[in-house]
Symmetry: C2
Subunit: 327 residues, 2 copies
């Protein structure tokens, strides 16, 4: 199977549908800011997962599109606000919204996308009690995302974070939305309780692995690949799994280097390379990779109860892909 | 009638109800930031309007409380984010959320309140189609608030804004939420179409007048009364009705003073006093007062179709009060 082609097909179908939620409009700057990141690329992973989960329980993919749009709008809202908080200048190989449009408009564009997410939910053609259930799930999901992002912000100020705390943080910040994508897709697709639970388990574990891999990529790739600032996370003292493992286990010279450079906003590019080397020597990068692999195994196992289908197969391959991707 | 006592009674009933949406919780900073402004005072005007509109169509006030909570949570979310955009250090006589908790946590606390607003809607015990109608109205309302706030931000950069543009801006930024409060209260209270329209017209015009008066108070009161920075609006070039009228009509020496000082972030306190004097001499403050009075008249006239009731009477008095208040 050509996974990328399968994803692209669904991504295109989704893109054709959801653009209606963000037409051009006024005030122009607000709309342009809301459209800048939203239509400036992105893998549409959450919509694809929702569509595939729906299909994996033999549901009608068309029916899940409004929900998929809500997820992607919500995801983009969090990116816009997160980039302000993290002071990230680049996203998806272009300027972040707050750099291009200024911070006030970026805050508003995020709020706008937030509201648009709930607007998209109203396009669902499901019975009203299912609408209410999904709408409530989306709300609880955003509340968790806020909690997770707050933990992420707080962790930057802390010297030490345990691996358990880290997993709890990315669970809220990232995995709950993947979990909702998969669970909601199965609900809308008419799956039974076992199938819904199977998809939810898949989404949750995929989300955990996805975030671990994302942090890994930030550390290990070059700026041109990711469109993000290299060293930004290290200068900010961002508690990725790689950092958490290193900080917990470092001793001697390695500990000294981390103490001096990690979280130091004035660190030079050479300093950053020192930290990279410590991460590598300590096996922290390998540890993060292995942890990511473990969650991927769990994600795939979660799908076992589903009947065989092309969609199930794609979900399986997507799991493997999510920790091989380079962007 | 003792209006303040009547409002206080409803305010207390509301406060007893809605606190459950923001219990103490973790991460502590996020919850404390979300609770800081929310429970740190405020007139609960929007909830009171919703409760009174409901009662004015002889509905059950208890049934409107979740909707009232949603309105107040939404209002507080906008205040938290607006204060970041406007760089306002004070709100309700205490530090703004972003000053006390830092900007990242303030952005998140706003997002959290936003989601909590939609969570409160799910507490409504109305039939599902009414829930969906009100939920959709709330979404459209927030989208308008974003548009209005964006206009407000953009207007600060512009030399000139017409009175029509100003009214359009405050209509979106402020009046739509008042309109929704009054309309939604009447809908939940079981009002007929005429009654719903009457209440909506009341809310809209009250909201316009309220914002005009708010701007007037910012200009004319002292810091200790309002808990806001004096001169902040003038230094930021904020286009209040008073400013708009002055900029449109100033000539000679007055025009020169406005050109030099209005929108000048480095203006001294003496400069600010000069601008105050120009506003007064040109009759701009009087003009804003009169415009506010006109909208109050419209708000009260809108209520004519309603049957007589204590609630209607309170709404009438509230209209008058809204342009006599000093905070």
């Amino acid at each position: 199977m050509d996974l990328e082609a399968e994803l692209k097909k669904r991504c295109n179908a989704f893109n054709n549908y959801w653009k209606k939620f963000l037409p051009e409009g006024g005030p122009a700057d607000l709309y342009n800011a809301a459209r800048h990141l939203t239509f400036g690329g992105g893998k549409r992973l959450r919509p694809c997962i929702a569509m595939l989960s729906c299909k994996s329980v033999f549901g009608d993919v068309e029916s899940v599109l409004p929900f998929a749009a809500a997820l992607e709008l919500m995801h983009n809202f969090t990116l816009v606000h997160d980039d302000i908080m993290d002071k990230s200048d680049m996203r998806r190989s272009q300027q972040s919204v707050h750099i291009k449009f200024g911070e006030p408009t970026a805050i508003l564009a995020g709020d706008f996308l937030f509201a648009k997410s709930f607007e998209a939910m109203h396009d669902l053609s499901v019975d009203l009690s299912m609408f209410k259930e999904l709408d409530y799930s989306l709300i609880e999901c955003v509340l968790d995302i806020c909690r997770g992002q707050q933990l992420d912000v707080e962790f930057e100020q802390r010297k030490m974070v345990t691996e358990e705390e880290y997993i709890n943080m990315i669970n809220k910040k990232t995995a709950v939305l993947f979990e909702l994508a998969a669970r909601g897709g199965a609900i809308i697709g008419g799956g039974n309780q076992d199938e819904i639970t199977a998809c939810a388990g898949y989404g949750l574990n995929l989300g955990l692995s996805f975030q671990i891999w994302d942090d890994y990529l930030d550390i290990s790739s070059e700026e041109k690949i990711l469109g993000k600032d290299i060293g930004n996370d290290i200068r900010n003292g961002k508690k990725t799994l790689i950092a958490v493992y290193s900080l917990q286990n470092a001793s001697g010279e390695n500990k000294k280097i981390l103490d001096e450079i990690f979280g130091n906003r004035n660190a030079s590019d050479d300093d950053i390379k020192h930290v990279f080397r410590v991460f590598k020597e300590m096996g922290s990068i390998e540890h993060a990779r292995n942890t990511g692999f473990d969650y991927i195994k769990k994600a795939k196992n979660a799908l076992n109860p589903l009947r065989d289908s092309e969609a199930k197969e794609i979900l399986m391959e997507l799991a493997d892909y999510s920790i091989q991707r380079e962007k």
